[in-house]
């Protein structure tokens, strides 16, 4: 049985997507470009070996702002800074025999910086690297085994009397997604920046993007015909409707 996921399932507070997704979707739909103006999308799990929980986790990690695993503990960096400061002052008093207090402050500040900053940078860099690696892995999983489809596709696939093979459904979903991607690219190229007027570049790029969309659309129409799927109008680029 094919599994569909909602858009970013279980995106809860504290997972990095603290912003209001609905509000941002409403806001973004005004731009006319982007995935938000499609009345919701679903994600088809293409890999049958992937459990629902794993797929949801991958989607969440790939699409939401990465949550830092654990914030950097300031204790170690603070201790290093304090140690460096004390060492600097001791050096100023003992080794150099300085007696004026601004000299002690100077050596203390330099010592604290030399001790604290590298330690903190190293700890923070390690945490960031872990976060990035986790997000990279999740993004790879999401790209390979999740397909974004319109919400109507999910209801169509789940409706009664359908006996579709999983592979057929995945192929159709990939065709829909590729067509939608080409359509979004075309819309973004044409309408992304209304102020610019570049006739030469437009003459070069626009036919390529239109051709890409039409090729994807032809593949989709063929697949949809054999599976008796009615391609929704929202798949077509808005600039061609």
């Amino acid at each position: 049985m094919s599994v569909f996921l909602d858009d970013v399932p279980g995106g809860t507070l504290g997972h990095g997507d603290e912003f209001d997704r609905d509000a941002s979707a409403v806001h973004a739909s005004g731009s006319g470009v982007g995935p938000h103006d499609r009345g919701g999308t679903r994600w088809l799990v293409a890999d049958p070996h992937l459990s629902r929980q794993e797929a949801e986790a991958a989607l969440r990690s790939a699409l939401t702002w990465p949550r830092v695993g654990s914030p950097v503990d300031p204790t170690a960096a603070g201790a290093a800074a304090a140690g460096g400061g004390v060492l600097g002052i001791a050096l100023a008093v003992g080794a150099f025999g300085l007696v004026e207090w601004p000299s002690w402050i100077a050596f203390g500040a330099v010592g604290a910086a030399a001790g604290g900053i590298p330690v903190w940078a190293w700890l923070d860099g390690r945490v960031q690297e872990q976060t990035r690696a986790r997000q990279r892995a999740a993004t790879r999983v999401a790209r390979e085994s999740l397909v974004e489809v319109p919400a109507s596709f999910a209801t169509w696939a789940g409706s009664d009397g359908k006996s579709l093979a999983h592979d057929d459904l995945v192929a159709l979903a990939r065709a829909v997604s590729a067509t939608r991607a080409a359509a979004s690219t075309l819309d973004a190229w044409r309408w992304g920046e209304p102020d610019v007027d570049w006739p030469h570049a437009h003459a070069v790029v626009d036919p390529v993007l239109v051709g890409e969309y039409e090729a994807a659309r032809a593949v989709l129409d063929e697949l949809a015909g054999s599976l008796s799927y009615e391609v929704p109008a929202e798949v077509a680029p808005e600039s061609l409707r």
Partner: protein, 264 residues
Amino acid sequence: MAPTRERPGIVRVRISDREVWHVVDPSLTPAEAEEAVRAHRAANAPTNRSLVRRVLAWTPGVVALVVLGGAFWGTVVVMAELDLAELPGRIAVAVVLGGIGFVAAATAGIVLLEAPWRRDRVEAEAATSPRVVPIPGSVLGWAGGGGADVGADAPAAADVWRVVAAVDVLSELEAAHWRLGDVLYWRLDDPDDDPDPDDDLDYGADGHSHGDDADAGPGDRHGTHPAVVALDAARLRASEELRALGDEVGFAAAAGVRPGAEGS
């Protein structure tokens, strides 16, 4: 050497308080050209400010400089009062006082950016005209002719017009290259696992549905999008055309124009 005085077809138009050299479409008759230039000047007149406004616009920088000078003087005075003997202590005090003075000067300047006498100026958009076109910096030196004897070997306005048109097409295609990168960005492969990080526009198949039909190429995960290929080819053609035109009219295209062919 940039043009120093106007001649037929090469005119100076004041835009946003700057003198910008323009070339006029050579297909116009002298009367039409004069009319076009006059209309262009009139359209851009609102972008220029009066002398008083320009002086008032300098106030943040002037005040920041004055504050900085005061901070310097104050630092000297405090250092003299403290009269420290040890060099590290003197450095520490000077650094702290200098930092305070710098922050004070920056704060004064930044606050004055929003001063009421600067806020009420009109932000007029510079108008463009298809008949009177600004000469890009890469062409300006050639358009002015060489040496002190201006006008003797300066190129004809018609040649300047053609070169400016060719350079504009080239820079349009280069700008479109960057914008196409923005348009295709969400289909970019993850740069972290990109084996060829030097290539700035390296597209795989699209993010969610790679690997089949219709996209850049079946299985061509690190391929380049056909639109980018087409745009690069057009850019190469434009730069070749510019080079041929430069050979014809004596404009050294390779020297002043950004790399089109030789850069990649």
